[in-house]
Symmetry: D2
Subunit: 403 residues, 4 copies
């Protein structure tokens, strides 16, 4: 075990990370610095401060930050420019939050002179990889502590015992096993494990917290507009909103209309398949809206190249390579394409459906003049013959020479 | 203008292709062979026979064929193995039918000794390309007639005049301009043009014919199962069905539940953007179901490779390159992956939504034993440390050496 | 035939473009503006001025420009950052020059108020496509004249007759057919057609003009160094050189050592295969040298992504899509990767071989400390076990579940 | 440490694997089965048998096999169908041999009832990964022993002491440190480490053993032909040869002419860069010859798709994923393309150069009739206008609408 002097812990204020805090003090005999971020998970942060103080953390070593705007502006939006989905469906809600947390931990470590960082992710999941690749990419000499891979508190009972022994307060509803594991931020909330482990069984309604079911959504549709500038959403229903405010607004609109639930089995980077149940209400609208505005403003060649590279880009984010050179390279390519992705999309939200109703743009490439069934002065239909003939030439030679 | 002796016309029996038939006889002074295929477009074919006879076609030169099973088995299903969508959304319903029609025209041309083939697609669209690339790929010496690129019947009025002059019967509702243009087969029905040309305006309800709107769909969900073997659907609700019967069944189930509508702007191969309104009810279920069964039976490496190549594969089909070597190569790759894509998916259909409720398979790669939050005997969490450390090594070196 | 008022002709001063000049005046009764560029083809430009004057061109409409530095800096070097080769071998010497000529023609057209541009490429080749895609991309309303596709001067005899009739001077050696067709610039010289049409026959020695044969090269090797900054070469043997001067220097060094010949059959964009014989002496060194400096300065993930996208990038350039959004997007991705591609490569040039002898860089990612066979303090070999175990996990599950 | 009963060791008969043999017996107290394969490394195998016997291995547990034909036919040739090179240059000589050894070890383990396998690769390199991914892919329950990651014989001195203590014979020239580490098979011989660790220093001549230097090669070129069937070479100079005999022949021809040396820095899968010096004489000819025969027999679309996927395919082999589903999928795609890759290539070998002199094929797609500068009856140059116009359309719209 390495010598550790000071460690920056990603601290939620919950039971698990409080146990980790104490375990770090006891095991490494080191000073613990806590970092608690508001990424829109929907929890008060001040209790985390109190709890950290109570557990003996030096007040100036308690970092509590509202990162919602940064999170949406510098992580969520760039990712949505790519229309990123993992394995055809997953909107990467957890994956995209980890790099930001990792980055702030490393920055704080530099600030307070810490030589280590610590996270509360288990040894089976993707999050440990995402945190640690972020740490190492930003500080190659940092020491990393992953208690779930090290300690022997391998059952709920042991964890509770340790908490009791160290006078860590335990909320009543945390004494028993949670029926599933949760991660939340402004983009999504995920549920996995335990009662959700059988992929043949549909999740019960109580699993969901950010959306009503399509069945319970209003019988009347809601019509909205989303405005885009340079590929990013900037207004809802004509009202300009900051990134986090905009996503918050879309979350509400979508959640109220039963939009954004996803139940899937995904391939983890560590090699096993797992089942996740996700709610990404605003993100689900955003993906459709962005595709719709691109459909009239993005050149076909640009769009197809983006589409071909998207799965790789999504895989990089899923696997934790946000700070890799290849992610940055792909981002440069994607961002290059978005300069004219401006305009407005009108959408109907109705019982789980996001229905594009219209798109318009000052930079629209859609040309009624060209596409019309009427006579036009801009397109010579005879050009099509030559176009086809030369596209066909290699196929004809192939048939003629090779049968 | 080339000398033509005998031409095989893709003949629907409708007004336009009847005018073409007559125009061919008159312009090329050649013998016309008609080919009418049932691809599930939902029209009687026998009237086409009568009309062809009436227009002077030799009965033995009237070819009428039910190609529905071939269409679904050899074209639709292989394409769905790839989860093919064009520009993120379009299920390629028109694109996938053209190669089969082209192939049969070329085969019939060989059979009856024709030296030319003819289609009724316009000079602005993708279909001319799809037909003609198919023709040339299968017979490099075939002559191709594309009347819409050649003749001067460039307005509805002229077309009607020509029809009247040549005693071609005109259905009452065909005298005026249709409000939009339609293409239909067992996979989908499309509408485009005229009243649909403004992409800011949502399509009116009367545009749709294969699905009720989500709003008009039943308030009670419908639960179904779909069984897969080697990547293809083989049964619905446990009942084994032939390919065409299965797709017909899914079309009904989906259409009744408001599923499968799509309104988009797409990039045509000929270079302009156009707006299409599509209904692909059964196909929409099929795509979700196939992804769901793959999610538990397909290895991650296999799936990600497929996902990366899908946009290219879809583009090839959209652009008319079904009979190209590169489409065959991609198909070989895709088919290689599907040997164990077996099992059952349970879906909830509800007001436009296709909600995966469960998936199971005798070949499932999902391992509860590995994924469990409980202790297990199969996964050593300490392995994750080495996995992360070596994945991080290049990123650490990068930071250390290049800052 | 469209009405043309003034046309900018890409004018070499040679017989063919002089005939075109005259033919334009006669056929379109329009004013001709000549544009002659020095791209390093190795010909005097002033004779072109005289000839243009003699053919009646207004002196202020004769544009003669030395574009060598721009050509190498803004076209050749960006392309070499990508290690671009077409079909595994071709260094794109002709392809990369066309966009610059097209761009200047359009700019001059704007300057002089011309409504058309004209080039001397034939209707079978790639160059017509490269010129015209460039024209249209930069000015969508420009009119394009491609005489070789329009006129009836379809044989050498007719061309000579036309020249004689219009008193166009004909150099003695231009009366007969050239034994092959040539294109040259600072990057390469190509030969194709006629005596080179049989791909089973090797080209005769007289086809080559920029390099001695490996057999005739010196028996003593030449050792050189090339320095790179941000992915571009900046010095040879320690001497800083401008882009064009550097490429000129490498051309000499390589040509003297029998380096840079290439004989291949390539797939043209218009659909046929053609045989080309190329000399790219300096470029051949540059490709090896750039790969060598990347090998120590470019992260593996970055390099592999670049390698995967290179064929697409090369295809875009070959096909004439330099000014397309997708080429710009790929360029953004490539350039993003080159910030630390700095350092020195030492090469041995010997009878056709470019042999990398050493590479070093202040930004080297190569770490002796890590790679050493001796004990080290930076790499824990036990990490490899976890790395392998988790990489293997999906393969083990696959075997266990699907056999 | 796991309980092991019987282990199959990849045994070369050399000092290192003899030490491993003994160490296994001592450490695991298990029965050792030796497997020694002739992959063309150029060593006698019978001494390995004697040594194994001497070290106490049961004669029926000594497996010695000549796998040269299998190696070339089922591993080398399929890989060359893809024109696989790693990081632009490396012909994957070591990488492609490991899967075959792993496969035979697993098969022998099954045969003799062994529960473990063992290899002699170090913990820093790629070979450990290649061996072990192969093992696990073929038998998910096999136990793997990697002595270099486990034992404490971490210096040459300790290794020699262990050998002496256990009466393992030590060849005189093995007492000291080897100046570099070697791997050899019929495709290549590699050298790395120690004296080669500085990438700025060129390798000395004594590092090479399969080729003369270009300088020392004959002054007269050697002309050869290679015949291909379905993408694989089948004859040299018209003489039909088995796969291994053919590669042996090419190795001799190339090595005598100074062909096939490569000195590079490559990115290892485990995350560091390393320097390798390779000789792949026959393979270097084979790559050029295969590209040349493809240049006239492979459709452009097929070739470009192959070229784009090649880096991924090469990466998979380099990283040890030969037995992965994605490698098999890519192989299916590649093999699909090779059905008509038939014909003959003529090559000049001269002082390090492989110069293609001609290619011909009964299935050639090269059409003189199309490509000729003379008048032809098969290509209408006016088609090019339409081809260009429609390819340009999206670029024109882009400029017009977005400037």
């Amino acid at each position: 075990m390495s010598e550790i002097k000071r460690v920056v812990l990603a601290y939620s204020g919950g039971l698990d990370t409080s146990v980790i805090l104490k375990w770090l003090q006891e095991t490494y005999r080191c000073e613990v610095v806590t970092f608690t971020a508001d990424l829109g998970q929907g929890e008060e942060l001040e209790p985390a401060r109190k709890k950290a103080e109570m557990l003996g953390i030096n007040p100036k070593h308690i970092f509590i930050e509202d990162l919602r705007e940064t999170f949406v502006k510098d992580y969520v939006f760039p990712m949505f420019r790519a229309n990123a989905v993992y394995e055809g469906l997953y909107l990467l809600g957890t994956s995209i939050a980890r790099p930001l947390i990792a980055k702030r931990q490393i920055e704080i470590a530099r600030e307070v002179g810490a030589d280590a960082v610590c996270h509360g992710a288990t040894g089976k999941g993707n999050d440990q990889v995402r945190f640690e690749l972020g740490y190492y990419a930003l500080n190659p000499d940092i020491k990393v502590i992953a208690p779930w891979r090290e300690w022997d508190l391998t059952s709920r009972t042991k964890l509770i015992e340790f908490a009791e022994k160290h006078q860590i307060p335990i909320a009543k509803d945390k004494r028993g096993e949670a029926p599933f594991s949760v991660d939340a931020n402004l983009l999504h909330i995920s549920a996995e494990g335990k009662v959700l482990e059988d992929p043949w069984e549909a999740p019960e309604e109580y699993v969901f917290s950010r959306s009503v079911s399509p069945e319970d959504a209003p019988d009347e549709p809601t019509i909205i507009t989303v405005d885009f500038e340079r590929g990013d959403p900037v207004a809802v229903d004509g009202e300009a909103l900051s990134p986090a405010a905009l996503l918050t607004r879309l979350n509400k609109l979508a959640g109220d209309n039963g939009i954004g639930r996803l139940d899937l089995v995904e391939g983890r980077f560590v090699g096993m398949k797992s089942r996740g149940v996700y709610e990404t209400p605003g993100g689900t609208i955003l993906l459709q809206a962005h595709r719709a505005i691109e459909s009239i403003t993005l050149d076909r060649g640009a769009m197809h190249l983006k589409d071909e590279l998207m799965p790789r880009y999504a895989e990089l984010i899923y696997n934790g390579f946000w700070f890799s050179p290849e992610r940055r390279m792909l981002q440069a390519l994607i961002d290059e394409s978005q300069a004219k992705v401006n305009g407005t999309v009108r959408l109907k939200l109705y019982k789980g459906n996001v229905i594009v109703q219209g798109r318009k743009s000052p930079d629209s490439l859609y040309s009624m003049e060209h596409v019309t069934f009427e006579d036009d002065q801009v397109y010579d239909q005879r050009d099509a013959e030559g176009f086809i003939k030369l596209n066909a030439l290699r196929l004809r030679l192939l048939n003629r020479q090779q049968g």
